[in-house]
Amino acid sequence: MEHEHKDETESSSPALMSLSPVDFRFHGKSKEFFGIWIVNVLLSIITLGIYSAWAKVRTFRYLYGSTELDGHRFNYLAEPMQILKGRILAVILFAAYYWLSMQSPEFMFGFMAVMVFLTPFLICSSLRFKMRMTSYRNVRFDYTGTYWQTLLYCVVLPFASIFTLYLAMPWVLKNMDQYIVNNTKYGNKAFSTELSGEIYFVASFISGILFAIIFAVAMFVVSTVAPDASVSEQAMNIMTFATFAVYLLAFTIVRAFYKARVRNHIFESTFLQGVANFGSTFSFNGLCYIYLTNIIALICSFGLAYPWTKIRMVNYAVDNTGVMAVDNRSEVIDEIGEQTTAIGDEVANVFDVDVALG
C-alpha cells in the first residue's frame, strides 16, 4: 500500500536526468489585491455571507493566477457553489451542535467522541479539495490519503505522543509531513520524499529552548517595567495583556525558526518523479521579520493591511522556492495530462465539497 510507487521511483530517479532551473515568479500587487479584497468583503457582508464563497474563489484565483512558473500561470478551478455547500453544511452542523448541547449537556461529550472520528475525514476532504482545484498547464494536482492512514498519522500518533511527554512529537510531525507529501500528486505522478527525523528533533528542540528563553527574558522585562499586578484591577489587566503579547511574540519568532528549518528540508528532499526537484531558501531572519511586521501592520490597521501582508508573504515564498525541471518538461507534462484526464474528471465534482470547519 505505502510502497506502491517504489518501482517507478527507482527507475526514474531524477538524479539521472538533466535538470535546469525554472523561472518562478509572482506578479501579485498589494494595491490591486487590496481593491479585490475590500470589494469582496463588502459584498460578503451585504449578502450575509453568501457571497463569501465567490469572494474566496476570486481571492484564490488572483493569488494562483499571479504565480508564474516557467511562463505558465497556476489556476484555481473551484466552483463557488462547491464552497458554499461546504459552508452551509458547516453552519448547519455548528448550529445543530449548539442547540443539542443546550438541550443536553451530555450530548457535548458524545459529540467530542464523534469529532475524533470525523477529523481524518475532514482533513482528507479539505486537502483533496485544495489539491484538485489547483492546476498547472491543464493538469490538476490530487491528494490520495485514505481515512485510516490519516486517522493514524494525524490523530492517533499525536495523541500517543502525549504519553512520551511529547518527546516523540518531532517524530510524529515528521511522519505526518512525509505522509501528506507522499500522497500529493501532480496528475498521475506522485511527489515523493524521505524526511530526516534528526532535522525535526533538532528543530523542535531548539524551538523549545528558544521559546523558553524569549518568554523568560520578555516577562522579566515586563515585570520590572509594569506596575505590581496585586495593586489594582487595572494593573492586573495590563499584566494579562502583556503576558499575552509576550506569548504572541515568542510564538511568532519560534514559528519562523521552525518553519524555515522544516520547510527548507521538506522542499530539498522532495521530488516529482521524472519531472522536477525542489529547493527552498527560507531564512529565520527573513521570515521572522515578515511575520512580526505583518502582525504589527494588522493590529495597527485593524486588519486592513491584510492584502499587503498576504502579497508580501507569497512574494517571499515564491522568491525563496526553487524548481529544477527536466529539459523535455513540456512533453512530459502533456503526457501526464493525457494519462490523467481520463481518470480524474469523473471522480471529481461528485464528492468535491470544500469542507471548511474552523
Partner: protein
C-alpha cells in the same frame, strides 16, 4: 471592424508557449504567426470560453482545438472579448479596479458589520426565539437546571413557611395578570456563586437564592417585584433570544474571520462579551418596564421595584471596597438609571 493584439499561445508538445499576433475581424478570432503572418488558427469568437476578468491576471481563452491563448488584460482583443460576455463579474471587476470605490467600501464595511451584529442578528434571534414551541423551552429548562444545580446550587435553607408565602404571591400575580402560557415553576436554592440573585430559564423555571430572600425578609412585596421582572424575561423569551443571538454572533464572527484564526479567537471573545453586555442591558430595560407595568396593574407601588434595585445595589456596595465599586459601576452603568426610572413610575402612580 478590426482589432489587433498580442498573445501567448499555449499548446501541447515541444513549443509549448509561443508569442503570437491576434486579430478580431468579421466575427472571427484569428491567430497569426509573429514572423510571417501565417494564420495558425481561426474560428468564431462567439463560442469561445473566456475566463472571468480579475485584476491584471491575463485573460485565458480556451480555443476549440483544446489549446489556450493568454492575452494581457489591457490588450484591445482581450477587452473586446470580455465585453462580449455578459457577466455580473464585470461589475465586480469594475468596482475592484477603480480606486474611487475603495474609500466608500472602507467606510461601509465596519458600519454594515456593526449593523449586522447589532440590528440584523438581534432581530433574527427574536423571531427565532418566538417560533420555538413551549415544550422545547421546557426541555431546555429541565436539562439546564439539572446541570446548574449539580455545580453551583445547594439545598435551600429557607423555611417551608416563607417559601409558601412567596410561592402563593407568585401564583396570585400570574393569575391576576393572566399569564398561563408557560409552565411556571419557582424554586429556591442556596448559592455561593450567585449571591443575592434571581434568574429565569427560558421555559418558565425561576430560581431565587436564599441570600435574596434573606435580604428582603421584611419586605415580601419587594421579592414579588423582582419575580415580576423575572417573569418578564420568560414572557418575552429573553433567554432563548440571548442564546440564539450568541450562537448567531459566534457563527458570523467565525464565518467572516475564519481565515485569521488566532486573531479571530481573540477578537470574537472580546466582541462577544461587549455585545452580550449591550444586549442584556436592552433586555433588562424591557423586563423592568414589564415589571413596573405589572405592579401598576396589581395595584401595587412601583416603589417596590425601586427598593429591590436599591437593596441589591447597597448589598453590592457593602461587599465591596472602593476599587470594586468602581468596577461595579462600569459594568452596571444603567443601575442608577433603573432605580430612578422606577421612582419616577412610583411618583406617577401617586398623582
Amino acid at each position: 471592424m478590426q482589432l489587433h493584439g498580442n498573445g501567448k499561445l499555449m499548446s501541447r508538445g515541444q513549443d509549448a508557449v509561443r508569442d503570437v499576433k491576434v486579430r478580431i475581424e468579421n466575427e472571427q478570432l484569428v491567430i497569426l504567426d509573429t514572423d510571417n503572418s501565417e494564420t495558425i488558427y481561426q474560428s468564431e469568437y462567439q463560442n469561445l470560453k473566456v475566463s472571468e476578468p480579475l485584476g491584471s491576471i491575463p485573460c485565458d481563452v480556451l480555443l476549440s482545438d483544446g489549446n489556450h491563448i493568454s492575452l494581457d488584460r489591457d490588450d484591445p482583443v482581450c477587452r473586446f472579448l470580455l465585453e462580449q460576455k455578459n457577466s455580473v463579474f464585470h461589475l465586480v471587476d469594475k468596482l475592484e479596479r477603480s480606486k474611487r470605490y475603495w474609500l466608500p467600501a472602507l467606510v461601509l464595511v465596519p458600519i454594515l458589520f456593526y449593523l449586522l451584529i447589532n440590528v440584523v442578528v438581534p432581530g433574527a434571534a427574536r423571531s427565532v426565539a418566538h417560533i420555538l414551541p413551549v415544550s422545547f423551552l421546557h426541555n431546555v429548562d429541565q436539562e439546564s437546571i439539572e446541570f446548574i444545580a449539580e455545580h453551583v446550587l445547594d439545598e435551600t435553607e429557607i423555611s417551608e413557611q416563607t417559601q409558601r408565602l412567596i410561592n402563593d404571591d407568585f401564583d396570585y400575580m400570574l393569575q391576576r395578570l393572566q399569564l398561563n402560557q408557560y409552565p411556571y415553576d419557582l424554586r429556591f436554592y442556596k448559592s455561593e456563586a450567585f449571591g443575592a440573585n434571581a434568574f429565569a430559564l427560558p421555559g418558565g423555571t425561576i430560581v431565587v437564592t436564599d441570600d435574596l430572600v434573606n435580604l428582603f425578609a421584611e419586605q415580601p412585596q419587594v421579592i414579588s417585584a423582582i419575580l415580576l421582572h423575572e417573569i418578564a424575561h420568560v414572557e418575552h423569551r429573553h433567554g432563548m433570544q440571548a442564546m440564539a443571538e450568541s450562537l448567531a454572533t459566534t457563527l458570523l464572527l467565525s464565518y467572516f474571520f475564519g481565515d485569521l484564526q488566532g486573531m479571530a479567537e481573540l477578537f470574537s471573545g472580546t466582541a462577544l462579551t461587549v455585545i452580550q453586555n449591550n444586549f442584556s442591558r436592552d433586555l433588562e430595560a424591557e423586563a423592568d418596564d414589564f415589571a413596573l407595568e405589572g405592579l401598576d396593574r396589581l395595584d401595587r407601588s412601583a416603589d417596590d421595584f425601586a427598593k429591590a434595585m436599591q437593596g441589591l445595589f447597597e448589598q453590592q456596595g457593602d461587599a465591596a471596597d472602593e476599587d470594586n465599586l468602581g468596577k461595579y459601576f462600569s459594568t452596571h452603568p444603567a443601575l442608577i438609571e433603573r432605580i430612578n426610572k422606577a421612582k419616577r413610575a412610583a411618583e406617577k402612580q401617586t398623582h
